[in-house]
Symmetry: C2
Subunit: 596 residues, 2 copies
């Protein structure tokens, strides 16, 4: 069985040494988030995840959720309900929610560290609170006061959970095609009818009520995506005063049989004149949806990170224990029948690839979440606007890269086990199966890449990229003459310059042919992710140097950074060549000739 | 559910237009393998695989093999037994085996085409006959006449199946550690005792008897891999006259619960004074094992190809049917609610990646198998020796690249389905799970890479590489002035030169530090695979030009070759940079600091 130990040393390094969270939180007026408080939350979070959630991961996979056709009820795996009660009891549900709604008002950067632990400990279980966070954000930003009072507070304290009801059988990405309808009722509510699919946490037994946020069309709605509104549709009917009534017209019609995340219920929801409350303006549902979606996209990125870390921890343990063959440069442990496989260069290549992508990815993800704190509490409009542009730019990179790297790291980690990795009892194959959903839901990698290039670069003229390039240039200037960092600063600056030029070239080509956007998109996204990680690795070395970390830790950062620059960053060469080749090689073959 | 249609047009193109099988077989004196015969076998093979094996693929996954603890018996999924009977009835078992042992004596290149179809139709089922082929080769090359009479003939006609019993709990790659013992008995047989794990097809209900080829140590055996002998251990005892007796001391102790290939039994075999017959010389079991292993490695490579093709076919169908979003360059199907997703550049990128790796990979695999025909029937010793060196060089590339590309193609194909790809009913996630074993069994990718660089390049001084480079240079010289091929010939020649130089550099570095071999190995293997495919794509364009294929087919080859050169071949840049960085970035971090 795979085990999990929260990587507190590296989480602390990321928060305190690199991102300088203490200074940041204090500048943002979050004086309650002292180092002591943060440390205590991290310790307690580690304990909860290691001892309560992690041991339930395998049974969640083996038994999964079950569906009762007669009642439409979903039963979660053994222990999930009790773990959720402990989660609520511990105050984890509202950790980062505003205090006025019952939350603890702690920084998002800290919430993200906790989220990483949950995803590593038990991804399937983590999807239940995850969806609540998206609903919380939507209600915070778009809900009327009575809606916040009635629906938001129970989400914050964890008594209820939330969902996002977007997808229908014929439309996932293309929400303009959606057909669910909402007809006005006399009491100011709406009768919502239609079929939604792939609804994560759409039905379960962890809480009595569930707050569905449902996209639907009003009778007078324009066609396409400009005619979509969002509705609050609770599982149990709730009036404006918060009185909970009987069952609403929402029924789970089935749960999906999936490759992984068996402990997560993925539901077909049939809405039949269900009572719904309009949230936000009519026909402006996509704005509220994007609020939820952006929260969820960052959260899914973290899932890739958490799974990678758990997979890496187990592969590392195995590589130290498993004795097989001698080192090519002579026995390293002559007293044993063979050397542990960690002596072999290719096993090290796989482990170091995981380590470099995980620790670099942690900074990518935590930095993005710290921008949420700046956006909410930043000193002036300029700072908030800049953070917003940067976060918008980074969100598709965090979502897509951390999840693709999650697939890659769980692949390498399983591979370190050889044939044993394919056997269920070691738990590695579950991590690989669970990881596979993350590049699909909340927008596939291809959709993230279109958001990055089409929207964040082309439509918004690259304000976020500009902000990130300024971070890189600031760092490079600061360490211009530092001989210990020269091996990183020079190539980082080169890559940043290339990134900027390449972006302009794509923009130029896209003026002539919009297909160039899609043709460049995924390679551009990966290119961006690898340059971003080069920045975080250089900063990690710099931060480690001046930190009070042990020498072994400083050395590990330096050697892993060198590995990253030597072995991973060159992937940008292939991505750049693909981008430079333009749209023609992708578009030339007629659709009917793909199997000519 | 995923469907499968044998890609006969491209199989014929590979065999007849590119590899010029008719000329080859006639030159090798295989006059019975006429085009008519080959066509008839392909047609009939397609029918069998499409209508008998492919429909059993999903039930094989869902129900899997089951194990009866009381009897040690394994029951295969519904329909597997009947399908196997049809396979034997149709004469497929002995398709490429010598006629003197009851086979049909047809060329290996043709057998490989059939094998690809089986792997695509039903990988798990295909593992039962696959293991027989390895046992057949071992008995052909190392068996005494009475062993061939008694054990080989029933394998060739399919009445019995075979296994390879190598792995033990504490040793997979490192067979020098194995502990299974064989004690001489009075009748010339041996009593074999020990525990073997991961024995594919180790127990099942398809045939009455199973021929286990077991590695074990004789009492006087030297330690390590030089003290290993091979034994024939049948499930039912068999004497030298072929009389079948009662149960032998081999019992299946359990079957593994695996990520995929649920229809394949992966067995723990407990041997307790089992009757075994020595095959080959005492202590020389590894030679016989490598005979089996090389056959199995080529066969597993083909598994990656077959799975990729089935996944691609289904993704292509879905991409043509699924309507979602409009093309960025304006609606392509304005009469429909949205465009089919095959209009989007990134969907095309995923599909074309599959197409390029599959069709190029098919030539890589079929060419390697045609070398088996040359080795068996080549005109002179030089030709046979050259083919043998080339095949030895290509075997790890075929095994590792086709399986890694199988993982990649099943990933892309699933990704084309979006969230639907994660749901069991579409069958895409099964293909991804099944593919995951192929980079592990019969030697992981890392082991293939060590075989390639450590043995085939360093120890054997690159004779196989030299032969392959000569093929490339011959092709480039032949098409020197051909303007239609200039876009391929020039970069191919460049890459071939770089390949050669890089090989020499690795050799030079390895003289100083043997860790350089392992450090370069996997990147070198991929680099080799991509250059090999560049050769096969250039040859495909050349062969298509002069063929009688339809224009649409010729165009598809040209456009896919262009895609390959523009978008896939540049991956060599990243692999080269990784190789050039040498061993230091992999070896510098102390083993106890990976989690410092």
């Amino acid at each position: 069985m795979s085990t999990y130990k929260a990587p507190l040393a590296d989480i602390r390094f990321a928060l305190f040494d690199v991102l300088q969270a203490e200074t940041l939180f204090s500048r943002l007026g979050r004086s309650e988030a002292t180092r002591d408080v943060i440390d205590a939350v991290l310790e307690e979070g580690a304990r909860f995840n290691e001892t309560v959630l992690a041991p339930l991961n395998r049974i969640g996979d083996e038994i999964g959720c079950s569906y009762d056709k007669a009642t439409g009820a979903v039963t979660t795996p053994p222990g999930f309900r009790e773990a959720y009660a402990q989660y609520v009891e511990g105050g984890w549900a509202g950790l980062t929610a505003p205090e006025r709604f019952g939350g603890q008002g702690l920084p998002h950067a800290l919430g993200t560290a906790l989220k990483e632990m949950i995803d590593a400990a038990n991804l399937a279980w983590g999807n239940f609170p995850l969806l609540s966070h998206g609903a919380t954000e939507a209600l915070l930003q778009h809900g009327e006061p009575w809606q916040q009072e009635v629906f938001l507070k129970p989400l914050v304290d964890g008594r209820w959970t939330g969902t996002m009801c977007l997808t229908e059988p014929h439309c996932g990405t293309d929400l303009g095609l959606l057909r669910t309808r909402a007809a006005p009722a006399e009491d100011g509510s709406y009768a919502v009818s239609g079929t939604k699919i792939f609804i994560t946490a759409g039905e379960h037994d962890l809480t009595d009520n569930i707050v569905h946020l449902v996209l639907a069309r009003l009778p007078d709605a324009p066609t396409g995506s400009r005619g979509i509104s969002m509705f609050i549709v609770p599982k149990l009917r709730v009036d404006r005063d918060g009185n909970v009534g009987g069952a609403n017209g929402v029924r789970c019609g089935a749960i999906e049989h999936k490759m992984g995340i068996h402990g997560s219920s993925t539901c077909v929801l049939n809405l039949d004149d269900a009572q719904g409350w309009l949230i936000g303006q009519p026909h402006k549902g996509l704005a509220a949806m994007f609020t939820m979606m952006n929260t969820a996209r960052l959260a899914v990125g973290l899932q890739g990170l958490g799974l990678s870390d758990r997979a890496y921890q187990n592969a590392l343990r195995y590589a130290r224990e498993r004795l097989q063959m001698r080192s090519l440069s002579g026995p390293k442990f002559p007293d044993r029948p063979a050397d542990p496989i960690i002596v072999h260069p290719d096993v090290r290549r796989m482990l170091l690839t995981c380590k470099a992508l995980i620790e670099g990815g942690r900074l990518l993800g935590y930095h993005a979440s710290s921008l949420l704190d700046v956006i909410e509490h930043g000193g002036d409009d300029d700072e908030r606007a800049q953070a917003d542009a940067l976060l918008g730019f980074l969100t598709p990179i965090v979502k897509a890269c951390l999840t693709e790297w999650g697939v890659e790291c769980t692949y390498h980690a399983l591979q370190c086990f050889g044939g044993h990795g394919y056997i269920a009892e070691h738990g590695m194959e579950q991590l690989a199966r669970d990881a596979r959903i993350t590049t699909l839901y909340e927008g596939t990698t291809g959709i993230q890449a279109l958001d990055l290039v089409g929207r964040k670069i082309m439509q918004l003229q690259g304000a976020g990229l500009k902000a990130f390039l300024e971070l890189i240039e600031g760092f490079c200037s600061e360490h211009e003459g530092n001989p210990d960092l020269a091996e990183f600063v020079a190539p980082l600056r080169d890559k940043a310059g290339e990134w900027q030029r390449m972006t302009q070239e794509i923009g130029g080509r896209a003026m002539a042919d919009p297909e160039e956007i899609g043709a460049a998109s995924v390679d551009y996204l990966f290119y961006s992710g690898y340059v971003a990680l080069a920045y975080w690795w250089a900063r990690s070395v710099a931060a480690a140097q001046t930190s009070s970390q042990p020498d072994a830790f400083k050395d590990a950062k330096l050697q892993t950074a060198r590995f990253y620059y030597a072995r991973i960053l060159p992937r940008t060469l292939a991505h750049k060549a693909a981008i430079d080749s333009g749209a023609a090689p992708l578009m030339a073959l007629q659709a009917d000739r793909f199997d000519a």
